[in-house]
């Protein structure tokens, strides 16, 4: 860590170091529901008042179940959907202020690894073509220069020797190799930030480890800021320093990875940890203690704490009425749960 800071000091102005690379402020992503195509019928509140910072050179993970708003949060950060409210600041500037040119420049600085590796690569393009396209779009005119860049990039993701792969099509590659190409494409314009949405969930155990290790190496080497989105807490500790737990459109706990694993505070985080199996024979001998029910509708979420209908610790008269604020329970550990109103 300290070594990285020294490195960073070489090329970053001092004041920029204080500033996180990305700041998300009270972000709301609401999708409008229409009846008959034009009558307002409510909103899907996929992201509802989310605030966090992504420091330079750090890998964070956003963890939550399907439908909790993870992908919507990412699309908003990529500038693909417009916030209903709130701000996304990149290097201190709102990504939506400054028009199309500014947005295009911003997107050049962000790499994206999408959820499904098998659908991610266009089947009719060669690997060379797939990696060349973003360079052409970025205005790199010299063909030879592009080729050199592509070769270096294939070497970085260890699809080697590059010559063997340049003219292949995606279906000729294994799932792991395809995912490496997706990563190469995300990195080829030297982004400052990488967003990886479930980058390994479709892969076999061994290939998953390969890809996690690759991402980890690239992140450290390039001093990249990474947002790793996943529903699987068990892979997080191999990659991210910090975890944000998301439930029903809200971040409900934020802490370092170690702290979340050793000292989780939110009842939903307890449930998530409790639901994960380490491979042990005794698992088969007992039922797991799991909260009943399913995540709520995001159109009419429950009032107060959104987890209250499933929470065994719910405090009557409080949890179903008031939205819990973020209480700080330790240095760098926040939790949105009324249980900690006195501790904080």
């Amino acid at each position: 860590m300290s070594e990285q800071q020294v490195q960073e000091a070489v090329y970053t102005p001092a004041e920029a170091q204080e500033q996180p690379l990305l700041s998300v402020r009270h972000l709301k992503i609401w999708y409008e529901l229409k009846r008959f195509g034009f009558l307002h019928a409510g909103y899907v509140k996929a992201v509802d008042d989310v605030t966090f910072d992504l420091p330079r050179g750090e890998a964070i993970a956003v963890v939550g179940e399907s439908g909790c708003g993870k992908s919507s949060l990412m699309k908003a950060i990529l500038g693909l959907v417009h916030p209903h409210d709130g701000q996304i600041l990149f290097e201190g500037k709102d990504i939506w202020e400054g028009g199309n040119t500014a947005m295009r420049e911003y997107r050049m600085k962000v790499g994206y690894v999408q959820q499904d590796p098998y659908g991610a690569l266009p089947p009719f393009m060669t690997i060379r073509r797939i990696l060349e396209e973003p360079l052409i779009l970025a205005g790199m005119k010299n063909k030879e220069e592009r080729l050199q860049r592509i070769i270096r990039s294939l070497e970085e993701v260890k699809v080697t020797p590059p010559d063997d792969f340049l003219n292949k099509y995606p279906h000729m590659l294994s799932g792991g190799q395809q995912q490496r190409i997706v990563i190469a494409r995300a990195l080829i314009r030297d982004p400052k930030m990488l967003i990886a949405d479930e980058p390994v969930s479709m892969l076999d155990a061994s290939v998953r480890v390969e890809i996690l290790k690759l991402l980890d190496e690239v992140q450290k080497e390039r001093h990249l800021s990474v947002i790793y989105i996943t529903h699987d807490l068990s892979t997080v500790r191999y990659f991210s320093e910090r975890i944000f737990v998301m439930y029903a459109g809200k971040l409900i706990e934020k802490a370092s990875t170690r702290e979340i694993l050793d000292n989780p505070k939110h009842p939903y985080t307890w449930a998530l940890l409790n639901a994960i199996s380490d491979p042990l024979a005794e698992n088969a001998k007992k039922l797991r203690d799991i909260p009943p029910g399913e995540p709520p509708s995001l159109i009419t979420p429950p009032p107060g704490c959104r987890f209250h209908p499933r929470c065994q610790k719910a405090i009557q008269g409080l949890c179903e009425v008031e939205v819990p604020p973020h209480f700080s329970v330790a240095a760098d550990h926040e939790v949105a749960c009324w249980l900690y109103r006195e501790e904080a």
């Binding site: 290939v207 998953r208 699987d232 449930a271 994960i276 491979p279 024979a281 088969a284 799991i290």
Partner: protein, 343 residues
């Protein structure tokens, strides 16, 4: 018959030398290659291995749900004491499918008929296979089985699209369960689901096993989660069964080099070990190499490994690897030996 018949009678499943090959224009895919194992009643065997190693094909071979391009389908499969491979398709359909063995195929929850109410879909196997069941009785059974797997009663009048993924998965499990088969084959039952939903489904499966005495063949690439149901573990690699052990023995110490390396790639929530991956990739099952199919990735490979290892028996464990030649109690070649290996 060579196997003591009460041994077979007492097993939910006995598989001997099962082979399933597919024909392609340019060769033969050896998807399931001489697999033998036995499964006791009220137990679950989990079949684990990487994508493409033949897990789904093995499930299809057990339930005789075969594609058209079968090249070879041989061996013996005793389900609840009855040999099924020698039956013709019609007899199999009447006496075995749903009655003795039912299956939840990969992605079944997305394959429910969208225009049929859930009760009608779940009832169907019952009406087909239990002669003389009345509509009312069948409906009773649907209510009971929905209750057992935790689908709210009111849902029986609904259509699949009105349910969440987790609820649909419970419905397909209910459908497999309604005829009270001896064995249920589950292919990746929770891979598309969230962790809490997964854990809830495994709770349901455990209760079915304990309370109804059903046996399971659970096919999955998710090793950690498979431990929730596993009594036995069967490791497949490139169409071969590399190891068969009790879950206790396996999770404490896998024997086969592939199994060891696979376990080292499984992320764990706690503990300090680094994750390891297995360099290289599995061989093609289209004209696979002779000898041990893991040899080109195996750190212990030796000259002998160019010959295919037999399946060695060590106590109640089976392992297909030359490293165990000396300590082995014997080689599993004959059905008699197999019947003695009651997992």
């Amino acid at each position: 018959m060579m196997i003591p018949s009460d041994d077979i009678q007492n097993k939910a499943l006995v598989v001997e030398d099962l082979v399933l090959y597919f024909q392609l224009t340019h060769g033969i895919v050896q998807a399931v290659d001489h697999v033998s194992f036995a499964l006791d009643k009220k137990r679950a065997v989990v079949v684990i291995g990487e994508s493409g190693c033949g897990k789904t094909s093995m499930g299809r071979a057990l339930t005789r749900l075969l594609p058209r391009n079968v090249n070879r389908y041989t061996g013996k499969v005793f389900i609840d004491g009855v040999e099924t491979m020698s039956m013709d398709d019609e007899t199999y359909r009447q006496q075995v499918r749903w009655v003795k063995i039912s299956q939840v195929p990969q992605a079944a929850m997305n394959a429910l008929n969208p225009v049929l109410k859930l009760k009608d879909q779940v009832m169907e196997p019952l009406l087909l296979h239990e002669k003389g069941v009345s509509q009312e009785e069948a409906l009773e059974r649907v209510h009971a089985v929905f209750d057992f797997v935790g689908v709210p009663d009111g849902f029986i009048e609904r259509y699949p699209f009105e349910l969440s993924g987790g609820m649909r998965q419970r419905v397909v499990i209910a459908m497999a369960l309604i005829t009270n088969p001896a064995v249920i084959v589950l292919d990746e039952p929770t891979s598309a689901l969230d962790v809490l939903t997964q854990a809830n489904i495994y709770n349901v499966l455990k209760r079915i096993k304990w309370e109804k005495g059903t046996s399971f063949v659970l096919i999955t690439h998710d090793v950690a989660t498979s431990s929730e149901l596993a009594d036995d573990v069967l490791v497949m690699y490139a169409g071969h069964m590399m190891e068969h052990s009790s879950a206790e023995a396996f999770f404490a110490e896998p024997l086969h080099p592939y199994a060891r390396m696979l376990m080292a790639a499984v992320p764990k929530l706690y503990g300090e070990e680094e994750l390891q991956f297995i360099p290289g990739k599995p061989p093609s099952l289209l004209n696979p190499p002779t000898g041990c199919r893991f040899a080109d990735r195996c750190p212990f490979a030796m000259a002998k490994c160019q010959q295919e290892p037999p399946t060695f028996q060590l106590g109640d464990r089976l392992v297909k690897c030359w490293l165990y030649e000396k300590e082995a109690d014997g080689i599993v070649t004959s059905p008699e030996a197999l019947a003695g290996v009651s997992a």
